[in-house]
Amino acid sequence: MLLFVLRRIGVMILTAIALTFIVFYMTNLPPNLEKLAKSEASVRMADDAVASWLERNGYGGSVFVRYGEWLGVMPGWTLTDEDGTIRGRCIANGQDAATAARFCGILQGNWGFSTVFKQPVTEVLARSLGATGWLMLWVMIVMVPASLLLGVLSGMREGSRTDRILSTVAITTTATPEYVSGVILIALLASATAGISPILADAGWISGKTLFPGTATSAMDDITFWNFFLPVMTIALYGIGYIARMTRASMTEVMTQQYIRTARLKGVGFRQVVMRHALRNALIAPFTVIMLQFPWLLNGVVIVETLFNYKGFGWTLVQAAGNNDIDTLLACSVVAVFVVLVTQLISDIGYVFLNPRIRLA
């Protein structure tokens, strides 16, 4: 067990290094850096001025060296200006060069400074991840039970009317991407001119103009049903359909097993057959799918947070990408890689515990 986990962690670290290097390389392509130089210094810089600005700010040198510096395994760059002051990656403004650390990459906790938010990246990340954490938690709370219920209900009698209706629902929701379902939900529930809100407002059943607010910004401070319903549902709907389909497949297979026949012919009622005999066997497969939903959720939040103006991880990522904020982008990719790899590990280990007949080698 320990050996397996250690080996998996080793592979994870290698994967993380490879992936972050790719992101680092892409964000540090020359046109990108030129844009950075122009936005930081002066928009009207000539080409040679850009080159010298980059040189003076540590963007010269090979991409490998800079990646090493960013990671914290290479000493940070230092430069002596004409006036004799020593500047460097690890030297804060006005700090004495002698007291500064030699290494200052993400391994040392120095994640850089966000050019958009004018804050250290760590602070930006902490705030946005916290916000996204809440969003994800509620998505999971809504999505997992709903999808399992839907899947089990449709899978227990394959081909029945219930199955066909629920399957249609599941296929519809899973075939609707968030940017479509989000817009539809807003139009339907959060628009003062369309959907049901005007009707409700006319009838005097709601005090405001819309049933739900069209933005979730207020949820940053205080989460309520009203301001969180739409973003949570937008993400969850897609997942519900997807997991429900998986659960249904697993459930229909279990229901054709001989031990189900055994139970039926023992005189067990249908409800008991489903609850006691089928359910646990049917839930083994969807577990992996649910774990794989976590990294996918990160993907979903990008759209939903932008749509509902909720300042979480996805929104931050979009801002960083749109404004060429290299350090923030890199940090976001580190987080994403980490989430993906850790959930994979958990799903592999959890599978073994759910199903004792599976062996990992």
Partner: protein, 695 residues
């Protein structure tokens, strides 16, 4: 546990003119037509027939569990006078499991893998008698002890996968007995089990039947088992009952041509592949929607008369002079039933040629890791220990043993799917023990082929039968054009008695037996010289077995093929093999010619095996030797002689030698080898297990 007392002179189960159909989008497929049978209290009724004859459908109809597209289209099933065919679901549920219980073919699949044994057992009285949980578990523990499982406290807290196949089947039986049902339906209850385990289960079923006075509906394709267990039997063919009567009546005075043909196609003692070959039933089982007019068996029957047998529906008629003995044959009084079998073609014994395969001290060990995550202490499984033998051209060498004895491992090593740990395999003039299959050249591969045990997994589900055989021909570089290969493929289908139309079918449209024939066709496609047949007929019906063994023998004669016939079925082994090798836990415990192995002196394990095989002949008297327990795990074999834990002769060996030392291989006269410590005088005094009473 019936709420009303039942007059035991009336039948428990009465099925009258039952017809069942399955409805597909295309058509209605009649599965059972005009089926009648009666089971009296305490009686064991056997339902015998080949797969697809509708015997399981009858059983499931009694349970009213026919699936979505199955429907009872006529007749009635009366259980204790109540008609089950129009019973409400709720009423049915009360009868299922409490008054009628069922035992299934595959115990592993019939038990819920995620529930403890105790919970699965206790459920029955909890549902039907509203018993409290503690009381139900106590009852479960007691019934587990009743079905003679060791350590019931451990077992009721175990999960199904922690038990062996035999133990699982005992649990299924225990589950059926939890509420003392009036009728027990056993659907091929021992087909998936080893013979020595089967013998134990059969004993148990018989004993429980007498103890509780339960009536039984025993479904089997094995006539020997039916003779062992049942009082009466009903032979089914293509959805109809063709003959019904007492076991003795049907076995000794059969009055239907199909029953007769069935008995002629099974290897009874005295049958011999050269002088008295089995008579396979000609033709094929009719597909349900292609049944002939009149008698279903007509087209395959030796006594068929045009204009009579196919003129009208044939009714069941009483056999004159017999009590409750009926047959569905209008010529039953005209046929001379005692006429000797028309002289079957007697063939020359295949001459035994040079040595083609020689094994010397072959060993195959596996190392397995201890815990679920690959840590822990590794263990060594000794799958094959010191295997040495020679096989000659044109010879049939049978390798006999129960699951886990290492016979399939040996086949894998020979085929090159595994490489040997040590020792040598000489195939013709080539050492192949260390050459895995991907390193072998086409010649070697087409010379050495295999017929596999499980026909369900050995065909590609997404490719037609014809295409798969042609693919084999292509690989073996047979023929010059596609047309040539196609013609050869159709010939191969004829050879394995499949209709040519099957070339365009997908494997899922074939029955298990038909799939196995395709497997055989594929193995012989390249003109194989040495064929390893790993339990090739164990999944097939009896009449099919005869045809397939016949086919194997035919091809063997033509090609001088060396056949390594791996099997646990001693009847078929006795019938077709020249030499026999008996294996137990990786050791060869006995080896010799067929006569030597089937006559005393025996190795104690061979003796038990012989005793366990059910024989469908009322004249045969057998000594009953039931082995206790299961085969020890190969991961943790007993010290000393591998068989010492179950051997009934152990006390005859002085000072516990069996516990300490693996017996040496002893040569008896005529090259008969035996691995046993028993002294010569004890071996000499052994009595034959099977005796045929004088007629």
């Amino acid at each position: 546990m019936s709420d009303t007392t039942w007059d035991s002179s009336k039948p428990i189960l009465e099925i009258e003119n039952l017809s069942i159909s399955f409805f597909t989008r295309l058509r209605e497929i009649p599965a059972v037509m005009d089926f009648s049978c009666t089971v009296m209290a305490g009686e064991a009724m056997g339902l015998v027939g080949e797969s697809g004859c509708g015997k399981s459908t009858v059983a499931l109809a009694v349970m009213r569990y026919l699936g979505k597209n199955g429907r009872i289209t006529g007749g009635s099933i009366r259980f204790k006078g109540r008609d089950l065919t129009n019973m409400e679901d709720e009423e049915l549920r009360k009868i299922r499991g409490s008054e009628i219980a069922m035992i299934y073919q595959e115990p592993m699949a019939s038990l819920n893998p995620a529930m403890k044994i105790g919970a699965q057992l206790a459920e029955v009285p909890m549902i039907h008698q509203g018993m409290a949980k503690e009381a139900a578990w106590k009852l479960a523990r007691q019934i587990v002890a009743d079905v003679r499982l060791p350590d019931p406290d451990r077992i009721i807290n175990a999960y199904p996968h922690q038990l062996s196949g035999g133990q699982q089947q005992r649990i299924v039986i225990a589950m059926a007995l939890m509420s003392k049902p009036a009728l027990l339906i056993l659907d091929e209850p021992t087909t998936a089990l080893d013979v020595t385990v089967e013998a134990g289960i059969v004993d148990l079923v018989k004993e429980l039947g007498t103890k509780y006075g339960t009536s039984m509906l025993f479904i089997s394709h094995n006539l020997g088992l039916v003779l062992d267990v049942c009082d009466r039997l009903c032979v089914m063919y293509s959805g109809e009952a063709v003959e019904t009567g007492n076991v003795e009546q049907v076995f000794d005075k059969m009055r239907h041509p199909y029953t007769q043909a069935l008995f002629r196609s099974i290897p009874l003692p005295g049958a011999d592949k050269n002088s008295r070959p089995l008579v396979a039933i000609p033709g094929n089982f009719p597909l349900p929607h292609e049944r002939p007019a009149g008698c279903n068996f007509g087209p395959r029957c030796d006594y068929f008369t045009d204009g009579r047998c196919n003129a009208q529906d044939i009714p069941m008629v009483q056999v004159p002079g017999d009590d409750r003995h009926e047959t569905r044959c209008i010529r039953s009084t005209e046929i001379d039933w005692n006429a000797p079998l028309a002289a079957a073609k007697v063939v020359e014994k295949t001459p035994i040629g040079r040595v083609v395969l020689k094994l010397d001290d072959l060993k195959k060990y596996y190392s397995v890791s201890g815990s679920a995550f690959g840590g822990g202490v590794g263990k060594v499984v000794k799958a094959n220990e010191t295997l040495s033998f020679e096989a000659h051209e044109g010879e049939t060498l049978a390798i006999v043993g129960e699951s886990g004895c290492g016979k399939s491992t040996f086949a894998k090593v020979l085929m090159g799917l595994e490489t040997a740990t040590s020792g040598q395999i000489m195939l013709f003039d080539e050492n192949v023990q260390n050459t895995p299959i991907q390193m072998r050249d086409t010649g070697t591969i087409s010379k050495l082929q295999m017929v596999f045990q499980n026909p369900f997994d050995t065909l590609n589900p997404s490719s037609t039968v014809g295409r798969q055989i042609i693919r084999a021909l292509e690989i073996f570089k047979f023929g010059n054009s596609d047309d040539e290969r196609k013609a050869r493929m159709l010939e191969l289908l004829d050879l394995v008695k499949l209709p040519r139309a099957f070339a365009d079918r997908m494997p899922r449209q074939l029955s298990g037996g038909q799939k196995q024939r395709v497997g055989i066709a594929r193995a012989f496609a390249g003109g194989a010289k040495v064929v390893v047949a790993d339990e090739p007929v164990s999944a097939l019906d009896v009449s099919v077995q005869a045809a397939v063994t016949d086919l194997l023998m035919d091809i063997q004669r033509k090609n001088k093929t060396t056949l390594l016939f791996i099997s646990h079925d001693l009847s078929i082994v006795r019938y077709l093999s020249d030499r026999v090798m008996v294996m137990y836990l990786g050791h060869v415990v006995e080896m010799g010619t067929t006569d030597q192995v089937f006559q005393p002196p025996y190795h104690p394990y061979t003796e038990a095996l012989l005793s366990a095989v059910p024989i469908a002949d009322t004249r045969v008297q057998k000594k009953r030797i039931v082995l206790d327990g299961d085969i020890p795990s190969a991961v943790n074999p007993p010290p000393g002689c591998p068989f010492q834990t179950r051997c009934r002769w152990k006390s005859q060996v002085a000072d516990g030698l069996c516990d300490r030392e693996v017996p040496p291989v002893r040569m008896l006269e005529g090259g008969h080898q035996i691995k046993c410590h028993l002294p010569d005088n004890v071996l000499a005094e052994m009595e034959p297990v099977i005796k045929i009473a004088a007629e």
